[in-house]
Every structure is written in C-alpha cells, then in structure tokens.
C-alpha cells in the first residue's frame, strides 16, 4: 500500500506537505505540482481509515428507509445521493423494513461507525433517536416525525393533502368512501387516515363508520386484501381512498379483476404510481414530492454537519394541485382512453 510517505519521498518533500496538498491547504505551487505528480505515478489513494481515526469524522451519510422496493423512497434516496455526492459524501443505505428493532440496530451501527449524519424515515411515531443524538450525530427525519423533536424534520403536508384528495372523490359524487391506510403508529398512515376522515365528515355530516376503514401494511398484498374485504361488506363502499402507492396498486388489481374499476368504484391514490403503464380512467393520483423531500433533507443534514446549531427545524412541503410532480391530478387522458379501447 502506497502511503503519503512514499509520495513524500518521491516528491522530495515531507509527509505533512503531502497531507496538506491533499487537504487543500496552501502549499508552494512547485511543491504542490511535484506532490501531485508523484502521487499520480505511484497510484496513491489516501487511506480514509487513518484519516478518520485521526479526525474522528467520516464522509458517510446513513440513509434509512422502510422499503427499498417502493419507488417513493428510492427516488428520495436518489435525490439525497445527488446532493450528498456533490459535497463529497457517500450514502449508506439501510432498509428498515418498517421494523423498529431493525431500525434501532442500524442506528447503533451508524453511530459506532461513526457516520457524518443520518437521514431517517422513522418506522413508527415511537422511534427514538437518542442513540444518535447523545453521540452528537446529526439526524434529519424525512417523510415522518420521530419521538425526538430536536431533530430537523421534512415532511409532506399529509393531512390537508389527504383531505383534499378524499374530497375529490366526494365532489365526484361518491358518498360511501372507504379508507385503506398503512399500519397504526406509522405517521403518514395515521395522518392520511385522519385527512380522509375530515373529508368524510365534511361531505356526509357524520362520523365515518369503522367498517369503512382498513389499516394494513403498506404493501400491494395489503391493498388487495383490504379491497376484497371492503367489497364483500354487506354495504360495500362506492369509492376507496388508498393512502399510498402500493396500497393503490393492490386496490386497482382487485377492482380490475372484479370488473369494478372507476367509475363503478371510485379510487384515489395518495402517492404516485411510477412505471405504471396504464392508469385506469378516473383514478385520482396525488403526487408526493419525493425528490424534493430528499433534496431538502440532505441539505438540512449537511448544514448540521457543517456545525449549524439551534433547535429542530421543520419543513412541510405542500402538495401543489395540478402539477405532475407534486400535485393532485386526474388521470383521464389519452392513455386511459386508449386502454379502454384496446
């Protein structure tokens, strides 16, 4: 392994000078040149372990998400990576699987790594960040809040967004609108559930009945099963509000199989449906600002890594109506039309 000493010897300078060159500290131009040349010829690569041991710092950001197979989170991750990379940081991805234990385990590993910072989409509203905070590792929560309020947080406006999305169904004339949401104690699932409930009260002037609510896992299978249950109710719903993209996917599959796609049974999907080919006519799709969430989270984290102090900040990103990337829109254009006639 070629070290700074080898480079120093070849360049006829001291090891400290080599170190300075590689850390952007001012050195006489001719020496800088000699060092660069020697390093190039020897194929010198600085050893990060040694540097970290010395400086007790790293250039790794841990990104912890509940589901690597959900495009919402991978798009977010991609945005984090882009921002981090531009500043010389690498991203270590951890898949928590919505499992609090796995999440704590990853946090434990992360702080003993130690990573420069953590971006976390908490698996539950009970998620505690003490492990990281005690050790002074900056944490930014994204998509969901954690129990510790000291951490910066960036989320989408789930509550009013969900209300707006559900309201669209009522405005379209549906009355018995069901809600299929994620697990209890998962913040986004709770809030979207509440948002739907608000729209329900607003439209029907009554409390939403319990049998129209199904809380399940954020999976395609969960959405499918919930739909089966709802459709076999004595008094089945005339529309469904699906709280995330995977649930919506499951709902659509079952509706399609049963021949009850919109407008027979109305449907709103909270969260975009990436790579989806043909969205059936009349499905309301709410696009979440996944990329923006990641960008903002990464930016806030880098500020903390750079030493910014102060209380936890909170950013709530709005869901702009009508915009392809961040809004709510009615998909009923050429694609859906054509799919019907195929």
């Amino acid at each position: 392994m070629v070290t700074i000493y080898d480079v120093a010897a070849k360049a006829g300078v001291s090891a400290a000078t080599v170190s300075r060159v590689f850390n952007g500290i001012k050195v006489r131009p001719d020496m800088t040149e000699a060092v660069r040349k020697a390093a190039e010829e020897l194929g010198f690569v600085p050893n990060r372990m040694a540097r970290r041991l010395r400086t007790s710092s790293s250039e790794i950001i841990a990104m912890m998400i509940p589901d690597i197979e959900n495009p919402f989170f991978t798009v977010m991750t991609r945005a984090v990576e882009d921002v981090a990379r531009a500043r010389g940081y690498s991203v270590m991805l951890c898949n928590t699987d919505e499992d609090p234990e796995k999440e704590q385990e990853y946090l434990r590993v992360a702080v003993s790594e130690p990573v420069a910072g953590v971006i976390l989409a908490p698996s539950s509203i009970g998620t505690r960040l003490d492990l990281a905070i005690e050790r002074g590792v900056p944490v930014v929560c994204v998509d969901r809040h954690a129990a510790n309020v000291e951490a910066d947080t960036v989320v989408a406006d789930n509550l009013s967004g969900a209300t707006a999305a559900a309201r669209l169904l009522f405005e379209a004339g549906y009355r018995r609108v069901a809600c299929v949401s994620g697990p209890k104690r998962v913040e986004t699932a709770d809030l979207r559930h509440q948002g739907w409930a608000a729209a329900y009260r607003e439209a029907n002037g009554a409390e939403p009945p319990d049998d129209l609510v199904i809380r399940t896992s954020y999976t395609v299978a969960g959405g499918a099963e919930a739909t089966h249950r709802l459709l076999s109710l004595p008094e089945p719903p005339d529309a469904i509000f699906a709280a995330n993209n995977k649930l919506a996917s499951g709902v659509i599959r079952v509706l399609a199989a049963e021949g009850k796609l919109p407008p027979t049974v109305g449907l709103a999907s909270f969260g975009g449906l990436p790579l989806v080919l043909l969205v059936p006519v009349g499905v309301l799709v709410t696009h979440l600002p996944a990329r923006r969430l990641g960008e903002v989270a990464a930016t806030m984290l880098l500020e903390r890594i750079d030493g910014l102090k102060g209380p936890g900040r909170e950013v709530v990103l709005p869901l702009v109506f009508g915009d392809e990337d961040e809004g709510i829109e009615l998909i009923d254009g050429a694609l859906a039309q054509t799919s019907r006639s195929s």
Copy 2:
C-alpha cells in the same frame, strides 16, 4: 471517549488483554470477567476506525448499480442486503447512473474505504476493476460482465432469453419485429439486441434491417421516443421487442396513445414490470430473476471475503419459461381482460 486503556486500568490488566477479550482470544476466566465488568461500567464501545486501520478491513459491502429508480436493481439490492445483514455486514449503495466515470470514482472511494467487498453491475463492457483487484478487494459482477475476468460474475441468460422472447413474437405471426435496446457497450443491451437478431434471422431467413433497431438509453423516455421513430417509418414494424422494463414502459405509453396496443402492434418486454397495474393484453413479459441474482452475488462475495481463492467463477441464471418470477409468460389474464372492458 473511553478506550481499551481505560478499561485495562480499571480491570487491573493490560490493554492487550482487553483487546483479546473483545476478540474472543483465550484469556484467564477471572480476567475475562474483570474486563467485561469494567467495560460495562465505563460504557466502552470498541472504536471501529482504529480497528479498521489496524486490520484494514471493514464490515461494509459496496453495492454499485446503474439505476436506483429501476425496480430490477432495487429488488436485487434488497436481496443483497438480506444476505449481507444475516452475516453482520452493512450495504453501502452507490448509484452509477450508467456513467463510467462516476463508477470509477465510486470504486476509488470504495477501495480507500476500504470496504470488505464490492458487488457491481458494470456500466459498460469496458469497465475495469483494477482499482479494486490490485488492492485485493473482492468484486462480484452482477447482471453484466466487466473487462476483468478474474471477478466472479452472475448474470441472467440474456442471449437465449432474448431470442426466446423475440421468437414468441414471430410465432404469434408478426414479421417485421423491431428492437429497442439500451446503450451500445452495455452488455445486457448488446446481448438482447443479438438475441433479437438471431430470432429475426431464424424467422425471416434474412439479416435484420438496420432501421428496425434503435439503441437508446435505458429509460422510459428513450423507449417512448424510439417508438415514435419506429411508427413513423415508411414501413413501420408490426411488433417491438423492448430490451428492458423501462423501455417497454415507454413503448407501451406511446402505443397506447397511438391506439396501437397489441395485437395491432405486438410487444415483448424483456424484464418484469413491477407495480404495473394493467398490462395490456398480449404484451409478452420476460421476468428476470432479480432477487436470485442478488442472493447469488452476495453469497459468492461473502465466500471471497471469507478467503476463498481461485479463478473467477461464472453463474448464468436461466429464464424459466412460464414461471411468474423467473420465466416468460403471456399476460392476458383477468386483469388485462378487465382493463379492456372497463
């Protein structure tokens, strides 16, 4: 920060003994006990940096993929993570964006990390792994080969799989079957292109004409644009072979918009279409064994990390026909039927 010296002092032994205790090297029972107790009371946590500097090893696997937003790769990553985690390794995800420079940059970072090993889906057939190999960092290539044959490699059987998929179109009666594939010098794109060409020759007894081949980026937009070009040809194709899932997605969107979905224009997708809601009738979908690719790659890498020597191994995973997860199947069941009647 509490070090082994603090623990040693408190336990009345030497630092070396503390080190031994924490590395499972035999030490007198009473001393072991004293060390454990002292460490516990002081809240001692071994410093990974120091350990790595000393042993020049880590428990991190670098996973480098060309497109984090493609479910094919995220499913693969998920599988790698599962296998790695079971052995106590973490996975660092790197998004190369099909960019050879970004890829080399990541390799540079990885070896100076140093990571325990690398799993890489090379961005091009020219990708060189010398950076890692010279330093003795094990590398496993997945999905595609790299220039260095020393590395273990696990791929799907692209050539014969593509031939088989394209052949299905000819067997369905199409004659002028076009090929939309990925960038040149990307192995999977090249092989699938060749596979299509073989099927074309076989069916038409003639060399496939150049105007029926479009090589573009592995993106939805690329697939869409290619389809536009093909459809506006003086003599347009009567079917399209799309070499990956994103391309197929773009093709379908345009076919749908033009009212030319199968069977008007035939279509085969090489690669599954995850989260897709309604696959139009008659689209032939080849499912790649993404999860299996990841599992095998991770397993092979761990073997190398454990010290296995010997020449580069190669695993080619077959595409089993008719199986949902790894085969080729005709999607024309209830979903597509229903989508037509909706």
